[in-house]
Amino acid sequence: MKLLNSKLLNIKPLNTQLLLIGLSLSTSSFALKALDDASLSGVQGQAGLTIEQSQLLNIGSLTYTDDGNDLSIEGLRFSSQTNVDEVASRTYIMDVSEDGTLRVQSDIKPTQMHIDGIRINNSAASFGDFTLNYEAVTNFNIKGMAGGGLEGSFTVGISNADMIWKTNGHSMSFDNIGYNASVDNFTFEYDAIDNSKGFIRTGLDIGMDNFDFSFSTGALSLAGVSLGELAGDLALSANAQIFAGGRYGDEGLTFHSQVSILSDTDNYVRFTDYDSVGEGNDLFMGDFSGSVNLTNLTLDVESDHLAIGFDQMDGSFKAGTILIGDSSKPIGSIELEFLLSDYIDAGNSANNRYNRFQLYPGIRQPDFAAMPDQIKSYAESFYFDQTPTSEGLSLATQWNLTNAELSYIDDGRLVVFSGIQSFGSANTTIDVRDKKIAIGISDLKGSYSIDGLRVGNKTAPLQGGAELLLSLEVYQAMDFDIDGFTEITAGGASGGGIRIDGDYFFSNSNIGLSIDENGEGIWATGVNYDIHLRDITFDVEGDGLKINRGEQWSTMDITNLRWGNKETGTSLGRVKLERFEKNSLLAIMPGGAGQVCVGGSLNAAGDGCSGVGRFEDRGEQGMTVSLKAAFANAGTTTDGTAIARNRLTWENNRTENSPGEYINDTGTQIIFDNYSTNDGTGTTDSNDYGLQANLNIDVFETKVLKKSTGTDANGVAGNLGDELIYDSSARDSYVYIASPDAAQKTLRPLGFAVQGNVSFKELNIDAVQLKHPNVATPQTVFYGVVMQNLDLTTNLTATPIQ
């Protein structure tokens, strides 16, 4: 949503610019009507000037040239919305007030702005065509400043607007856009100084005080089906400096900006997903504040692309209220601090990392011959209908996230995902096809890592626990090389929402399953991960976010499961996990565990333990992650492209090809073959229940007992069984207490409290087998394992060891 906000912000100045172009260029394109005497006498009696304009504007090509490279906007047209050959009308009222302020009011009747295509140096392909239907009312007040420059205020109201992007005859649109904005005071001054290019240059300094805007739109719509509705309200103060000259050559543009999101409880962004009967459910983030600073954002037109880049972007963001579906259950609040910055290694330029984007017109297809066999045929099929002249957008991206700290606050208790870092590069294509958006990503190479968690406050010691993200299939660290091809259609399981089909392949990747900030722990290395998703739907429902996974099959082949370092750690051998699921489900819901009795059972009233146990009220906030994995019996996939099954293979004692390099399928294997779930009477039964796992996640105080008498590593003395209690809410010193009172119990260490439940009706394993390398067929150890009727509940809290 934040990205979309940025897009809207970016669109507005462009829109204004185009309107100004329309004003300035249109004077020779249409005739002013001569006023009769009666009309003239009326004008003389007024304080200002009224201009009524009827406009039909056609510009064959509008070109911006940067260091000899042309960015051409072809077929630019302003016309009526109903007939492109008819005029659109607008009215301007201008007057000057006593303090010298020029006031300009405009009333723009329904107008269509259309662009046939945008090309770079007459490229064979274009970015596609764009249409903007809109009507607007604006009010600008401008006057001179004492020291030079301009200042003023403005309000803009845009209504009944649609924005349409079309490639190769297929379109996507944002419908019913409404946009209202006001700025209490803006300034334009030509006094900004910059020396980032090694010489002094002067530029335009723009300031905006209390820039308040609201918007609403039907979110992305494909073939008349909308993903939902997007709305928001935001108040900003911003400064920007603009200079001539970009990053490359002599010409281009450079920007610096400083944006402050004003702390305002009315700030919000909301996505609404409407179900089949028109009832809406919201994803809501409100009570925003924060800031974003951008240094050296540059725009250059190069020989075949538009180059955008920045040296540094840093900022912070806080959302005080987050709702998923149920408006009565906030899941807590989040805070994000981030720094994206270029990194230059003076000793080895190969290690340099940048934040750059190159936008190419048309679809640049990847090199199929260089692709791994596992994904090549899917890639060729994905681009089968694309030609060198196909319209669309191609992106070459580099990024370097130097550091980010993501905090989650649950009932006032804080946990920080600390030390998030990432860098990499990717090639991406985006185009619109029949009722779908096609996104192809190739050579997505890079790395990310999360140092660990900090619990209680932002300077608390690092601890483990980021492994909790594994339940969402988010790993703690990864070095990746990914090719992936995705098609998105509008409409989830019911009504709006998103539907995804995709094929992805991870080549020779390293995955940190449980590691510390030094990269030590348990690693899956040399991983080839082949994933195929069909009919995956995302919907916001009354009780949370639901992701239905219609069909999914994959093979994760881990060359080495290592203890210690990802390169030199001792290997447990090869692990190969094949997976085949139909109608699995992932749901993220508001609310944690609530009232819990650890070590006993809750009483009927739910306000204490029934007998033994320790009662904990973990509050209203928190989060519940609910998984249903419906493991399917072995068989052919619905599209007929593969035979899939669930199978786990562990292999070791492999032949060593070279030191540290082992040849797969040359060792001894133990195989858990064709495991699947069903509803209780065998593999011919239905599979509606699957294997269900629910995690209720809270941040809560934990009872930590001393494990031996004496002093601990921090020199604090205590007896076996004493409780660790902090001295104050600062949680920077502690003592051991045999029997803490109620007040002291509130100063117990904070931890990640997880109430987990795993259940299934039946989990069936067809065979457990052993395979010696000298035999072709595995030998069966167990001719079947049938596990039934399990309901396993855990109440665990994890805290760092002191």
Binding site: G464, D516, G564, G573, G680, L691, L695, D791, P800
Partner: protein, 195 residues
């Protein structure tokens, strides 16, 4: 299976590793907190039965539909594992039936660490730890685990499921455990041999 592994990791496995590099004094305090994770809580199996016991779910076979409370003794209220260790269709099944109970503990620790010193059990100055010089997953056992209403039945069965045609089961013995057991020391897990 991946989901199972992930969830088991997520629920019970939070190791960290002590840094190997020399540390400045002001860094030492932070590193002490990264030595691993302290786990406290409980694990409960079929406290009020399992999903097949839900009588409101019409898809559940009648033989499984039971009213399972914490006090109920019906063997269908527990979890069940049947293993065919014979030659397939012609052999019977070894069954662990009616698995229920709660295990409570405070003070289980989990961490990965490098062992490159110590373990001079003979007292002769020879460090087995230095010779080992590798990474381990260390499970620090809680001093006490409390068993509450823990039970299971070992049996032989003619078929895998109580719903299968010709089902006939012979119970060998029943076990029920209440009380505390002592588990002290550390459990070290590490890869060995040729991968």
């Amino acid at each position: 299976m991946k989901k199972i592994i992930m969830n088991v990791f997520a629920l019970i496995y939070f190791p960290c590793v002590i840094a190997l590099e020399p540390l400045a004094e002001d860094e030492l305090k932070n590193i002490l907190g990264q030595g691993g994770v302290y786990l406290t809580g409980d694990i409960t199996i079929n406290e009020t039965g399992g999903p097949l016991n839900n009588a409101a779910d019409a898809s559940n076979p009648a033989v499984w539909q039971k009213n399972c409370t914490t006090a109920s003794t019906d063997k269908r209220c527990g979890a069940r594992i049947a293993v065919n260790a014979g030659d397939g269709v012609n052999s019977g099944w070894l069954v662990l039936d009616n698995i229920r109970g709660r295990f409570s503990f405070e003070g289980m620790t989990l961490k990965t660490r490098t062992i490159n010193s110590g373990f001079d059990d003979d007292g002769n100055g020879t460090s087995d730890g230095a010779a080992f010089n590798g990474d381990v997953l260390e499970i620090g056992l809680p001093n006490t685990i409390k068993y509450t209403n823990v039970s299971y039945t070992l049996a032989n069965s003619s078929t895998a499921r109580p719903t299968d045609v010709g089902f006939n089961q012979t119970d060998i013995f029943n076990v029920k455990i209440d009380g505390d057991i002592s588990l002290q020391g550390n459990l070290l897990l590490f890869p060995t041999g040729n991968p």
